[in-house]
């Protein structure tokens, strides 16, 4: 009941999915996929979001309760979460409302800035890699510099061949390495999927009995 039935759901359901991928039969494509699986998954998925909300809420309330380091900032999480929910549920999600205003003027600038911060840290990582002075790191940096310079007008001013070299790097060695990695990842993911399907890999069921 605790592990066997979930395992059987995965094995039997997984085998039906294998059949779905191979057979264009009406029962599999229409009855199983469109009439059963999709509506059921949509109905379930909204509750998965609640799991995330509950998890973060519990983590921050525990932090406040225990007065863990930097616990005061958890109040900012609660304040912004509740304010966004109230703005969305009461005011609606239409453009011009408070909900969209918060998204456009608070969430969006912060997330864009957060990602742009990575430019500085990547530059510092590149500098550290350069200081390592290994031939591999040098090749990596040269390829990166060529690709970067080819995308800006300065690169064309340095050499008119730079965009051609950059395109060659992307089309030949980059393609070969990505294809090799992709094949490895594909073989690995298929092997893992087969292990789950055959009930060998059960870690997704979690610990306990």
């Amino acid at each position: 009941m605790k592990k066997t039935i979930p395992l059987l759901i995965v094995i039997i359901g997984g085998l039906i999915w294998v059949a779905w991928a191979f057979s264009p039969h009406y029962v599999l494509q229409e009855v199983f996929y469109n009439q059963f699986y999709l509506p059921w998954v949509y109905a379930m998925s909204s509750f998965a979001m609640l799991l995330g909300v509950l998890s973060l809420t519990m983590m921050h309330s525990a932090k406040i309760k225990r007065k863990a380091p930097k616990w005061q900032f958890s109040w900012f999480f609660f304040a912004s979460f509740i304010a966004t929910c109230l703005a969305g549920f009461i005011g609606g999600t239409q453009k011009g409302g408070l909900f969209m205003w918060m998204f456009e003027n608070v969430q969006m600038p912060m997330s864009a800035t957060m990602f742009s911060l990575l430019a500085f840290y990547m530059a510092s990582a590149a500098y550290k890699a350069f200081r390592a002075r290994s031939p591999e790191a040098t090749v990596l940096l040269i390829a990166a510099i060529v690709v970067m310079l080819a995308q800006v007008p300065l690169g064309v001013k340095i050499s008119k061949h730079l965009p051609t070299i950059s395109q060659w790097i992307l089309d030949v060695p980059n393609l070969a390495s990505k294809r090799g990695i992709m094949l490895g990842v594909g073989l690995g993911s298929v092997a893992t999927s087969l292990k789950i399907l055959l009930g060998i890999e059960r870690s997704y069921l979690g610990g306990g009995d």
């Binding site: 592990k3 759901i9 359901g13 979460f81 742009s116 390829a143 980059n174 594909g186 073989l187």
Partner: protein
């Protein structure tokens, strides 16, 4: 002060709060970071309710009377038992239902990641570039084959795969840096044009 300027000032304040981390970790950054998580979570919750819960759960069960969908709704609620010590095992049911899709992953994964890639790799070697791509693909694949020691002539050939990967990672690194820099330029343009520009005007 116009409403647009006020909105831009709010955006500028939070942008500077995040940028302040470049100096060092500080309370402004900490507060902004938590607010980003809170707003993103609230945004996700509101949209999940509006775009998923209402049309696929509420309307189908209450308005269209498709009562069979009560079963997946109850299954979805079982997710929440993940936090219970005694009844935590109940959350395995919705997880198992989601994991069913790995069955699709087997044939689809073989097709998309293996067969299509192999078909593209097995073209007639008519140009030098195609030869280099073929050589690189084989060398990279063998680099991750650990059943044979990477020594001698075989080791030297396998090492070619490492060089190919370094060039590939460099190209990815360069493209990622450029994407981040374009975001940085966007934020600076916002601060200069939309905030300082509006204040001066």
């Amino acid at each position: 002060m116009s409403f647009e300027l006020f909105s831009n000032l709010v955006g500028a304040f939070f942008t500077l709060c995040i940028f302040s981390f470049l100096y060092k970790d500080n309370p402004f950054y900490q507060a902004a970071e938590q607010m980003l998580v809170g707003i993103s979570l609230g945004y996700g919750l509101v949209y999940t309710y509006e775009r998923v819960f209402v049309p696929y759960v509420y309307q189908t069960i209450v308005i269209k009377h498709e009562f069979v969908l009560i079963i997946p709704a109850v299954l979805g609620i079982l997710y929440l038992f993940r936090f219970s010590r005694k009844l935590g095992w109940l959350s395995r049911y919705p997880i198992a239902f989601s994991m069913m899709a790995v069955g699709m992953g087997v044939p689809m994964g073989i097709h998309a990641s293996i067969l299509v890639q192999m078909r593209q790799a097995m073209v007639p070697i008519e140009t030098f570039n195609l030869f280099l791509i073929f050589l690189g693909t084989i060398a990279v694949l063998l680099y991750f084959f650990f059943s044979k020691a990477h020594t001698g002539a075989y080791g030297k050939f396998v090492n070619v795969g490492k060089w190919y990967m370094m060039i590939g990672f460099g190209a990815s690194f360069g493209l990622t840096v450029m994407a981040r820099i374009s975001l940085l330029i966007g934020r600076i343009q916002f601060l200069v044009n939309d905030v300082i520009g509006m204040i001066i005007k």
